[in-house]
Amino acid sequence: MKKYGLPLLLIAFALFIFGVENVHAAQCSDQYYNPWMTQGWATDKVGPKVSLKTSAASCYGSDTQVWFSGFQSLPPNYPNGSGWIYVNLYEDDPDGNADEHVKEYIGYITNRVITTFTLNYTYTPGIIDSSGDQYCELYCTFGISGNQGQYMEKNIFLYKMCML
């Protein structure tokens, strides 16, 4: 028994780790730059739509994630002591049905640099697609505070959407 003890223990440990990793493995989109954004309150600029598979029986809003990286500063033509970037995550529904508003993220700007990003609210933590459908189609919309009607055309940050 002692002879098989360590290998069995190692196998059990490997299975445990594999199991844990499998349960929590997320499927993620590619990284995208923000699209150019409308300044003011509109959050109508839309990023690419991706189909992601959940490891759960159905797609839940609470299992979605948006990860941010690659922050750049804003240009001198954006003179704001403080500002906000809005990123809203949606699940796409067929035409005729309203898309599910899943989550809202807010990036806070001080002196033309993003200083914090916040998961501000989860609108739909529950099922966001048909029950039993493990594939959900996610996309984000974007907006930035500032001079209404003007645009922010620079690549300010990267983001990717994930589904647990």
Partner: protein, 287 residues
């Protein structure tokens, strides 16, 4: 006949009134359009003071004045052009509901507004000045109610007063639409010099204020530190001197795109090639 004349007269009066209303309306709309366009163009002017501090730090105070007459905007922060990253400087991704920091992201800039120690100070200073809208020199007494550690109150008053007394800038520079502060890194291809090259810059109203080029060796030592150390070799000193010539040339010529081959800067072929790649990568990022 009388009725006919009467009808014609009435018609003329009605047409005249319609035309008059249309003309006045057009002038009002044109005026409103011009105002909207002025705001849309977001034309603004700026006063600013930039102070060079030790170890790659630049402190800047900016006051933005809008052509449209909107409230001024006041900005104050510290920017580091030397380091690739510093402990305690990151952008947190926070779950608002739980307060948990989900992630800490190292951005392409190092500012006091993203430091663990001073982010709240900078935020409070900016909010305070934007609320007060000071239009003249101030004293420390005017900062009553504002507490911070990032700089001394005397220094903040001093840099603000120098800013408000400075010349108004009305012509933006060539880089007005580019990243206000940024950094690019490329790996060295010289096997005898393992590490990476780095270039950082900061703008002032779209004009290049400062450029900093560093070589970071595989041990994490910065060229500017090596050059000041007792162990600096003649090669280190020469390289540092040439890099300084390049930095100054970029600011003097107000360009991030310098053709090394056409300049007087003397670098060996591998270093020259790496720095050319660094400058090309920066150029593709800004334009």
């Amino acid at each position: 006949m009388k009725n006919k004349i009467k009808n014609i007269s009435i018609a003329i009066v009605v047409i005249a009134v319609i035309c008059a209303v249309a003309l006045v309306g057009n002038r009002v709309n044109a005026s409103a359009d011009e105002n909207a366009k002025a705001k849309q163009d977001n034309k603004f002017f700026q006063k600013s003071v930039y102070d060079d501090k030790d170890d790659g730090w630049v402190y800047a105070f900016e006051i933005v004045y809008f052509d449209s007459g909107d409230e001024n905007i006041y900005m104050f922060d510290g920017y580091n052009l030397k380091y690739k990253e510093l402990d305690g400087y990151y952008v947190p991704i926070i779950d608002k509901e739980t307060g948990e920091i989900i992630d800490k992201v190292k951005p392409n800039y190092i500012t006091q507004s993203i430091s663990e120690a001073y982010r709240e100070d900078i935020k409070n200073i900016v909010e305070f000045f934007n609320k007060k809208q000071f239009n003249d020199k101030i004293t420390v007494k005017d900062l009553e109610g504002l507490e911070f550690k990032v700089v001394s109150k005397e220094y903040l008053v001093d840099i603000f007063n120098r800013t408000i007394s400075s010349k108004l800038m009305t012509e933006p520079g060539e880089y007005f639409d580019d990243y206000f502060v940024s950094r690019v890194n490329v790996d060295s291809t010289d096997k005898a010099m393992k590490g990476e090259w780095q270039i950082s810059y900061i703008l002032n109203y779209g004009h290049l204020y400062d450029v900093n080029i560093e070589f970071i060796d595989e041990s994490g030592r910065y060229l500017s530190d090596v050059a000041k150390s007792k162990s600096a070799t003649a090669k280190d000193l020469e390289l540092f001197a040439q890099v300084e010539v390049l930095e100054k040339a970029m600011v003097e010529k107000q360009t991030l795109a310098i053709d090394l081959a056409k300049s007087s800067i003397k670098l060996d072929s591998k270093t020259g090639s790496d720095i050319t790649k660094l400058l090309n990568n920066l150029a593709s990022e800004v334009k």
